[in-house]
């Protein structure tokens, strides 16, 4: 409470300016504003705009982290300008100057305003972002299990700010990647028991070379999201349901790669790397390497492999036989697989919903909007049919 009474301080903002229509190159502008330290970076930008330069372009509306308009990069990290305190931003700034740039992966319209239509909204459209309801429509409401709706509240928390799109590292090298925001949105419908096209949605997203298997698992979107949506986690759930529940085998090696690693660890206790490539391309058995797709890939890897073997990096014996843990331990690992994989339903603990018990930290589930899942992780966890 005391914080709200702290006197105004000076904050220096370094704002990236660019007007593509001017034909001039981008440049940096510095302005010093005076505000109480708990005020937001957005308020700082607006003061600079009001006092020093009315031409600074910034998009904003609610100023309360719910409209998703003011996504920018602050000190190189994506986030909402209205959701970042000036003092926190200064703490993370080099030389105490708060650096504000437009979001990445999207073209700049002017200064801090990026073209969300050209990238973000196109990708959202790509995943058919509406319910394809089961028919016939019930006379009254659809009756669904409560837990299944709680399960999708996390993806529903998205405010479409584009912060995750801004810094997606897969999109940086592959702009056609459907991306974190749109795939989280896709999970919102895949996980909805009222939707009639779960299989078709998953088939589409796993077969698209820029779909769920194009995510490089870098956690950028997890940290970028101001609403704790965990887009990467939703992508992993899409993969899990596509592969394990719907048994969709995709042309991108996604399902085979997952199966290969899971099976190799079961059979060896450790990862048998040399088997991973042929199985991912050719199929999940020793014979995978005889598949033409595997053969082609192995051939392309031959120069690297030969170099690695001649340099003593990779032993021939290891490449052929792999490495194993002792037999008694391998037996224990296999028993774990058997126990867990023979459960009628997957047991999936989602901390967003269940929160943490016996801990001083505030349960995250309190903000879930779905009323939380109670204290019992067994009911709060997402139990999907397998």
């Amino acid at each position: 409470m005391a914080e709200t009474h702290r006197p105004p301080e000076q904050f220096t903002l370094r704002v990236r300016r660019y007007d593509p229509e001017s034909g001039e190159a981008p440049y940096w502008d510095e302005h010093t504003v005076e505000l109480e330290p708990h005020r937001s970076v957005l308020e700082g930008i607006l003061q600079a705009k009001a006092r020093f330069d009315g031409s600074i372009g910034i998009r904003c509306s609610c100023r309360a982290a719910i409209c998703g308009s003011c996504g920018v990069r602050i000190n190189g990290e994506p986030g909402l300008a209205c959701h970042t305190h000036l003092d926190h931003a200064r703490d993370g700034a080099q030389g105490g100057v708060i650096e504000i740039e437009p979001m990445g992966n999207m073209p700049v319209i002017k200064d801090l305003i990026v073209d969300m239509d050209a990238v973000h909204w196109k990708k959202i459209q790509r995943v058919t972002p509406w319910l394809l309801a089961k028919q016939p429509t019930p006379e009254r409401e659809y009756v669904v299990p409560r837990e299944s709706m709680v399960d999708i509240t996390q993806s529903m928390a998205c405010i479409q700010c584009g912060a995750c799109v801004s810094d997606c590292l897969a999109m940086e090298v592959d702009p056609g990647f459907i991306g974190p925001a749109a795939l989280a949105k896709a999970y919102r419908f895949v996980g909805d028991p009222r939707d009639d096209r779960r299989y078709e949605r998953l088939l589409d997203l796993s077969h698209d070379p820029q779909g769920i298997y194009d995510c490089t698992h870098c956690f950028k979107c997890v940290d970028a999201c101001p609403k704790d949506v965990n887009p990467m986690g939703q992508i992993m759930r899409l993969r899990r349901i596509a592969g394990s529940d719907e048994h969709i085998v995709d042309p991108n090696n996604g399902e085979r790669h997952e199966q290969a690693i899971t099976t190799l660890v079961r059979d060896y206790g450790l990862l048998h790397e040399a088997e991973l490539v042929p199985r991912s391309y050719g199929g999940n058995s020793w014979f995978g390497k005889l598949h033409p797709a595997a053969g082609k890939e192995l051939l392309s890897l031959l120069p690297s492999a030969i170099k690695a073997i001649t340099r003593g990096k990779i032993g021939v014996k290891l490449a052929l036989l792999g490495h194993k843990i002792p037999d008694s331990d391998l037996k224990a690992v296999k028993r774990i697989y058997q126990t867990v994989e023979s459960r009628p339903e997957r047991y999936e603990l989602n901390l967003y919903i269940s929160g943490e018990d016996e801990d001083e930290r505030t349960p995250v589930g309190a903000t879930a909007g779905g009323g939380g899942g109670g204290d019992d992780p067994a009911t709060a966890g997402d139990r999907s049919a397998s």
């Binding site: 590292l169 897969a170 940086e172 090298v173 592959d174 070379p209 298997y213 194009d214 490089t216 698992h217 870098c218 956690f219 950028k220 997890v222 940290d223 993969r239 899990r240 394990s244 790669h257 997952e258 199966q259 690693i261 899971t262 660890v265 450790l270 990862l271 790397e273 991973l276 392309s300 120069p303 690297s304 690695a308 340099r311 990096k313 990779i314 032993g315 490495h323 843990i325 002792p326 331990d329 224990a332 690992v333 774990i336 697989y337 126990t339 867990v340 994989e341 459960r343 047991y347 999936e348 603990l349 269940s354 929160g355 943490e356 018990d357 016996e358 801990d359 019992d376 992780p377 067994a378």
Partner: protein, 307 residues
């Protein structure tokens, strides 16, 4: 100090020089490594993608084995991916006593159980990458005092690997523990110069190398290229999976990005070992696809400065 040591799979598979160099470096830092040779693969995030409970149970087994090592202060790994994948499982196991009990039930026939707080003193089971251990347990001053051959004039670019820098909260990165800046601190403590470049905390591309090889190698190639442009002599990484894409696949990445790279990539224990006076060959540096000797002038920048 005595640690329960988890080397991981790749450090004993396709990057054996990593495990080897760690074994050489440990005694010079008074680290006693008790190898967890019965433990299993962490699943590198992919087993969790297949079945979360399976990944959690497999890693709970590893933690339980580590907790059985008498006198070990903590568990240590040498792989960013192990750190991240195991950390994710530990987060779930630590969050719920009921879930922990459920997982331990699966481990029970083997006589194993993972305890969140083995001493009962309100502590937590600790699993640290060698990088974190260097800074937080050994300390930069101590490390500096043990340097025999400062890496003077050696320009080193850090490459972290995603799993050890994100998500920040799970990895315990905050103002007190700037773990996403430890590589720079270690490079400086060893006498080298830090080269900052765009890709230092980005993704090497390895997770999608079998799914979208072009995008994967474009990532590796771009970051290596950025390091070349920033005038780095070499990169250093705490992640053997990154090393696969950055070193083993570098010739292929050169093809994808259409430029010569020739950027040597060192494992963290190799860089530490050089400064502690070990010879490049002892550290397995002759085994890399991109030979470190191709760029670094050992006679002036590294070896020559022997004290």
């Amino acid at each position: 100090m005595k640690v329960a040591y988890w080397p991981g799979c790749v450090s004993r598979g396709f990057t054996p020089e990593l495990h080897g160099s760690m074994a050489r470096v440990a005694p010079l830092l008074d680290i006693e490594l008790v190898e967890l040779d019965r433990a299993n693969c962490c699943g590198c995030g992919v087993i969790a993608e297949h079945n979360q409970e399976l990944a959690d149970t497999l890693n709970a087994r590893t933690f339980a084995l580590a907790q059985q090592v008498p006198g070990a202060e903590l568990m240590m790994n040498i792989c960013s991916t192990c750190q991240g994948a195991q950390g994710e499982c530990q987060e779930r196991l630590d969050a719920s006593a009921e879930y922990r009990a459920h997982v331990n039930q699966t481990l029970a026939p083997e006589g194993l159980a993972y305890e969140k707080d083995p001493g009962g003193a309100g502590g937590h089971f600790t699993n640290k990458n060698f990088l974190w251990l260097l800074v937080e347990e050994i300390g930069l001053e101590e490390l500096r005092s043990r340097v025999k051959r400062p890496l003077t004039k050696l320009k080193v670019g850090p490459f972290y690997g995603c799993y050890i820098v994100r998500p920040r909260k799970r990895l315990g990165i905050d103002a007190e523990h700037p773990r996403d800046h430890y590589l720079e601190q270690v490079i400086e403590a060893l006498g080298g110069s830090v080269i900052e470049y765009a890709g230092m905390r980005k993704c090497c591309g390895f997770p999608i190398v079998t799914m979208n090889k072009e995008a994967s190698l474009k990532q590796a190639g771009r970051h290596l290229g950025d390091a070349v442009d920033a005038d780095a002599d070499c990169l250093v990484t705490p992640c053997p999976l990154c090393h696969l894409n950055l070193d083993l696949q570098q010739p292929a990445a050169e093809g994808v990005v259409g430029r010569d790279l020739k950027m040597p990539v060192l494992h963290l224990p190799q860089l530490v070992g050089l400064a502690l006076g070990l010879e490049p060959k002892e550290l397995g540096m002759n085994r890399h696809v991109v030979r470190p000797s191709a760029v670094i002038d050992w006679s002036t920048s590294v070896v020559g400065a022997a004290a």
